[in-house]
Symmetry: C2
Subunit: 412 residues, 2 copies
């Protein structure tokens, strides 16, 4: 008998049939004697639909003053799905009760559309469990001090799940998704990619923020912060999934655990700017103010004392970012602004990297052997990322996956 938080994403509750399947799965655990708190996202497509409606009314992105209403709008999606899942559970003989963010008192800070959870009141959840009722909690939403609805950013229902799991001290927070776990690379690109039995939360954090869409990055931070064991597994098939842990399970970690990639990248270069303090912030300041997220940043100084400053943004933000940078070009006395919106990023991630030299070399050699040109390089303690031409993406992922012997054959 175990105590679980079980979180189901939008695809898992995307139709009445799937909601029934979720209820059936949860009811199986409850009948077996487990205690389960369910967390659900909005039905797939629903948040997109609401967001599009909001965008149409606003004629664009919500301003600060409109963010409160955007949160009221977006949080309606989970309201429908928790009711439907609770109804399906009750119908299947497993009494259930839905909770909105404010009803389970998920208190957050005041930042609309990107609020952070401050506290959760678990009293009603525990009271339900004690009388045999399974609580179904809305992901993605909470309430600020003024009683206004707040949301945590797209995909953040995972964060609700882990926060509830931490507050309850459950045995395991299970994130049910449409994939059977975390893989050494995207199996659609690398045919012999392998499911990992476990990853550390630090690796998972790099993988999540690198575009491996399995988990929301903030939820992974919670695993590290509160030590909640989290397991990623499939809603649709049986299997153990992947355990995200706080500690190295084995003394001997593989140097590289997985290869992540993101496709929708673009880069902008400001050429020939004076290499003086403050240049970076004068370029990136206005970009940040426009709510454009900047990923990699690289600067090189040439022999003439002038620097080339390059950064990457999401492809959807490319045109806007380019306009902003071009508008400050004159003020910076830069020679030119160039850009490329057909690039992709490939990253090797692994905690074992810390104690091993030569990882970068092995990665670069593998790319060179396939004649793939590296456009940018960026490294962190447990990650090496390279930017390549978009058309080289698949070859690059496969080359690096092979170089670190991550495939199914390699372990056989």
């Amino acid at each position: 008998m175990a105590f679980y938080v079980q979180k189901f994403g939008g695809t898992s509750v995307g139709s009445v049939e799937r909601i029934d399947a979720v209820a059936n799965r949860v009811a199986g655990f409850v009948r077996g004697g487990d205690r389960v708190v369910v967390v659900v996202s909005a039905m797939s497509g629903e948040t997109n639909r609401l967001e599009a409606l909001g965008g149409e009314v606003l004629r664009g992105h919500p301003s600060e003053t409109q963010a409160r209403e955007m949160d009221v709008l977006l949080s309606a999606g989970e309201q429908a799905s928790i009711a439907l899942v609770a109804m399906a559970l009750t119908r299947q003989g497993c009494p259930a009760r839905s909770y909105l963010g404010d009803q389970v008192r998920i208190r957050t800070d005041a930042n609309h559309m990107k609020a952070r959870i401050e506290s959760i009141d678990t009293e009603c959840l525990l009271a339900d469990l004690d009388r045999g009722v399974t609580p179904v909690v809305a992901g993605f939403q909470g309430m600020n001090e003024s009683g206004d609805i707040t949301t945590f950013g797209r995909g953040a229902s995972d964060t609700t799940a882990v926060a509830v799991a931490a507050a309850l001290g459950v045995d395991e927070c299970r994130i049910y998704t449409d994939v059977p776990g975390v893989f050494t690379a995207d199996p659609r690109i690398v045919p012999d990619a392998r499911r990992l039995d476990s990853v550390t939360f630090e690796e998972m954090l790099e993988l999540a923020s690198l575009g491996s869409k399995v988990l929301h990055a903030r939820s992974v931070e919670f695993v590290g912060k509160y030590g909640v064991p989290m397991r990623v597994l499939s809603s649709f098939e049986e299997g153990l999934g992947t355990l995200v842990t706080t500690e190295d399970q084995d003394m001997e970690q593989p140097v590289v655990s997985a290869i992540a990639h993101t496709r929708d990248e673009a880069k902008l270069t400001v050429q020939g700017v004076p290499d003086v303090p403050g240049v970076a912030s004068r370029i990136l300041g206005p970009v940040g103010e426009a709510s454009i997220e900047v990923d990699m940043i690289v600067q090189n100084v040439g022999a003439d004392g002038l620097a080339d400053f390059t950064f990457t943004v999401r492809r959807a933000d490319y045109e806007r970012a380019r306009e902003i940078v071009e508008s400050v070009q004159g003020e910076l006395e830069a020679r030119a602004v160039t850009g490329d919106d057909r690039i992709a990023k490939v990253s090797a991630v692994g905690v074992g990297m810390r104690s091993h030299a030569g990882v970068a070399t092995r990665m670069f050699d593998a790319l060179a052997a396939k004649n793939i040109n590296i456009l940018m390089i960026s490294t962190s303690e447990i990650k090496i990322s390279v930017v390549v031409d978009e058309h080289s993406l698949e070859a690059a992922v496969n080359a690096i996956h092979d170089a670190f012997e991550l495939g199914a054959d390699a372990t056989a």
Copy 2:
């Protein structure tokens, strides 16, 4: 400068364009110096969509234990529309703020799906108005003592509007609909039907419950109870609409103000039941328990001491009602159960009827002159209803409309 509640139904907020038009209209009043509290329904089709999803998950109608979740589900519709209307108002330079039922503390009793409003806390609304912010309140929903979401029944956003209007003591509660007011008859059936400048709330109550879909019956009760002046008018065109008043505006009331009709009726007759106490409740008890609404009830006793007991239900409930009645037929020792699901009801309504004799005769004569057979008759203080064959409906409405000289020509 006036103080209004302005309520917009689902059709009026059914698309982004219409939401913009609603915001434009409200903003016009606010710019002119009026104080406005907006009440909105869910976007048209949305509550139906959610209700259908709930029905699919439940495989039928919600039981008592599922009604709490059904309310969570259904109330999500208004949550989206209040946010969108508030966003549109703010975008048009008229700062606005949305309120869910629980945020404006619309406290109700514990009856899910048919809750009644007990109190409204107007403090936040008045504070908003004082600082130039237009509140946008979700219709149809409130919160019970336990903090659970409750709803008031389909179409009950009008009730929210009138209750908020009563609590605030506004000058007028304006109900914007897809028709330009209350008519002497349905203009689609009676070409010379006339818009009424005013009706009494008692007349409106009969018209609302008789199938004139303009207003929700409960909202009209509030007009009588709290003396809130209410005006029904079109969202889409200019015009004065119809004022629903608590008092007779003129000393001299017309005998009949309007002719209402309902099309989707069915009747069931239990023939030859003993005329003893308790028969009616033994027939209607199980029908009511199945949540089937009974409208007209007529009983006649024949010479043999056996009674024919007839009642009408909505056509959608006919088959279920018939099964229920047939299941108690033996116990009642009734001779037969017969039914007809192709009937319609026509009613003449007018407060002037109280002081005038001969109204029924004039109505029946008009029908006889057109050779229309009357299947059932039912009367109240200010209303006479007849049931006719569905195919006679249009002729019956026109005949009675003419008989009481309600047409545009008659007043010219």
